[in-house]
């Protein structure tokens, strides 16, 4: 995520200082207000700590390694303003001494990782943790999600900065600096972080915080108050942060989906995910949604009431999924790899002959995920008829799968797990 020199125009690089330098000045004043002379060694040593944890290689499934930034962790423990100073110091040290990140680009790098990251991470953490007791599980989730959002946003900022270069600085269409526009740079950086580095950072932040809570809980109360001047909140609330999670999920998920849709749709809003949305019969969709909602309101409570305690939550969840199944009918086109030869004919203009001959051999009793009755699957049937058919087929499918899983469970019960491979002690 460290931008080297030469990727950004010098005007842009130095211009970023307009955002970064005041943040630094305010951070130093803010931290000094609280503790006049105690600040210097604390910030210096935490900057060194920050530098060091950027060197920890973390094993990632798939055999490679990644490493975190730790900005959100320091922001949670010391407060966001202190994190601005420590992360920036570590970044300056890396740029001046180890050649990580450019010298002119220092303002941009410090803005992304030293200002944006700790603040978004910290505020997301505060939002989700709001009032939860210091030792609650909710705080761990808050830390994980906060660091995830922080790094993803920093990655997005890098994408925007790089993507602005060919727009702002070109010579008659020939890009002078980083050559990729917003349409390429933003999704690349956003997705690369959202699906990779951010997950590692989230896991590490949560694990380290859980270690601190367990062994040094005093750091989560007194020190933050000392350094950032903020009182540590020890509210009595003890519930899962359901709506906050939903909000965060929406805020993070919706832009990601939009970007993914734009990328697959070739940048055209009218054809998100490469589908032609003008073909959709919206009134039909509306009546189908109404019917679906009605079925859900009736069926879900009944199922919940009827099911035995063991299956209550699982069964309800699957019922909700079955009720929601017809939503897939809205999307125009067919899912890739699932189309029937007729769909292929429409789409490609021809049908591979092998496919034509193969598809006749096995015709599933519930082909097209619908009931083979004209009321449900006739081509001219209203959309809500099809929707009901989908729901019934979904229920049948879930029951069949459940039966298979139960039968397998019966067969395997009583057998011992395969011998595990974990031997050896750990020590530090």
């Amino acid at each position: 995520m460290h931008i080297p020199d030469g990727y950004l125009s010098p005007v842009f690089s130095i211009g970023m200082g307009v955002a970064t330098v005041p943040a630094w000045a305010r951070a130093v004043r803010k931290v000094r207000e609280v503790l006049t002379t105690r600040t210097v060694p604390l910030l210096a040593i935490f900057a060194a700590f920050n530098f060091t944890i950027m060197m920890f290689n973390v094993p990632v499934p798939g055999g490679t390694t990644a490493h975190g930034v730790g900005g959100t962790l320091v922001a949670i423990v010391l407060g966001p303003w202190a994190a601005v100073v420590t992360v920036s110091t570590a970044l300056v040290l890396q740029a001046l001494f180890f050649g990580d990140g450019g010298i002119l680009a220092i303002f941009a790098n410090c803005f992304n990782m030293g200002v944006l990251l700790p603040f978004t991470g910290y505020w997301t953490y505060r939002l989700i943790a709001a009032g939860a007791p210091l030792l609650s599980v909710r705080r761990l989730w808050a830390a994980a999600i906060g660091s995830y959002v922080g790094i993803t946003l920093a990655g997005l900022a890098v994408g925007v900065e790089l993507g602005l270069q060919p727009i702002l600085f070109n010579d008659g269409g020939r890009p002078l600096y980083s050559p990729y526009g917003l349409a390429a740079a933003v999704p690349t950086m956003l997705l690369a972080h959202a699906l990779g580095a951010s997950i590692v950072e989230a896991i590490i932040t949560a694990l380290v915080l859980s270690y601190i809570r367990q062994h040094h809980p005093e750091y989560l109360t007194s020190l933050k108050a000392v350094v950032a001047g903020a009182g540590a909140d020890m509210g009595p609330a003890r519930q899962r942060p359901v709506w906050q999670l939903a909000v965060i999920g929406l805020v993070v998920g919706a832009p990601l989906l939009l970007v993914a849709g734009l990328v697959t749709g070739g940048g055209n809003v009218g054809s998100l995910f490469g589908a032609d949305w003008s073909q959709v019969d919206w009134p039909g969709v509306g009546s189908m949604m109404l019917v679906t909602a009605g079925v859900g309101i009736v069926a879900v409570p009944i199922v919940r009431f009827l099911l035995p305690e063991r299956f209550k939550s699982v069964g309800t969840a699957y019922t909700v999924a079955a009720v929601l199944a017809p939503l897939g009918l809205i999307a125009p086109g067919f899912a890739f790899g699932e189309g029937s030869p007729d769909d292929l004919m429409k789409e490609l203009g021809f049908v591979p002959s092998g496919l034509q001959s193969l598809s006749g051999i096995f015709s599933a009793p519930l082909s097209g995920y619908n009931l083979p009755l004209p009321w449900f699957s006739d081509a001219n049937a209203p959309l809500w008829h099809q929707g009901l058919g989908y729901e019934i087929v979904a229920v049948i499918g879930i029951l069949l799968l459940g039966a298979v899983v139960l039968a397998l469970g019966r067969l395997l019960r009583g057998r011992e797990d395969a011998p595990g491979g974990v031997v050896g002690g750990t020590a530090a």
Binding site: M1, G6, T37, P41, I45, A48, G99, R174
Partner: protein, 286 residues
Amino acid sequence: MSCSCHSAARGRVGWLERTLAGIASSIEQAVFTEEHARRRGWLQAVDPRIKVLMFAAVIIAASASSSFGVLAGLYLLLLAAAWKSQLPFELFVRRTWVGIPFFAGIVVLPSIFFGLPPRLFDVSLGPLQLGLSLPGLYGATVFVMRVAVCVSLAVLLVLTTRWSDLLKSLRALRAPQVFILILSMTYRYVFLFLHTMNGMFEARKSRVVARPGGREDRRWIARSMGALLNRSFKMSGDVYAAMLARGFTGEVRTYSTYRLGMADWLALAGAFAVAVGAALVSRWIR
């Protein structure tokens, strides 16, 4: 952060070995740098405040230039300066090219197939029109060259200036005293932490017989990070106590005995002339 992994053994090199190698190479780099900054070369003799201004001017000129000729000329001047400063030539070239400019080349590679016409050939691949574009190729070359010049300049500055001098020279750029103090202390403690971390990782490596799963490994890493955090708190308390005991009142005083000589002013004038010249020539020569 770019990963400079020197894998000693072929085959499976895990996170532990990689981290150990990273620590070793950081320390090695620091020692190496200090050694070269102590030599009696041309740039080492220039006043650090002047040197920072010189390099700032040339870096700005280089990143503002989009002419291959000017960038190549600047690189030649740079090589001459490195040679006059008694830096091992081959090592300097390798250290600056293997890494960031090489990576920049990979990053910029796809863009040459989407550039403006004239193109050497055209291949249509679905909705995409691929072709080796001549302006795209030129732009990519300039881009890589510019990144290389900037990186070389930064490396040259660091290799010829001792860390303490570099920090003092930042004061010439009006950086606040507190920041410089924090930076210098951070630099000091980075090596202490690297040492501690090295100990932790070697202890782990020498005590674990089997290959635990990723889950267990991540837990161990989190625990050692937490332990390091605890140590940071304790250490900052100790250091503060030691500072108080030595009369620290919150005010920072440094002394500097630097005096600017004629050679310093000449070097500064030369660097500014190069920067201005590069900016002017870039307008005419593409």
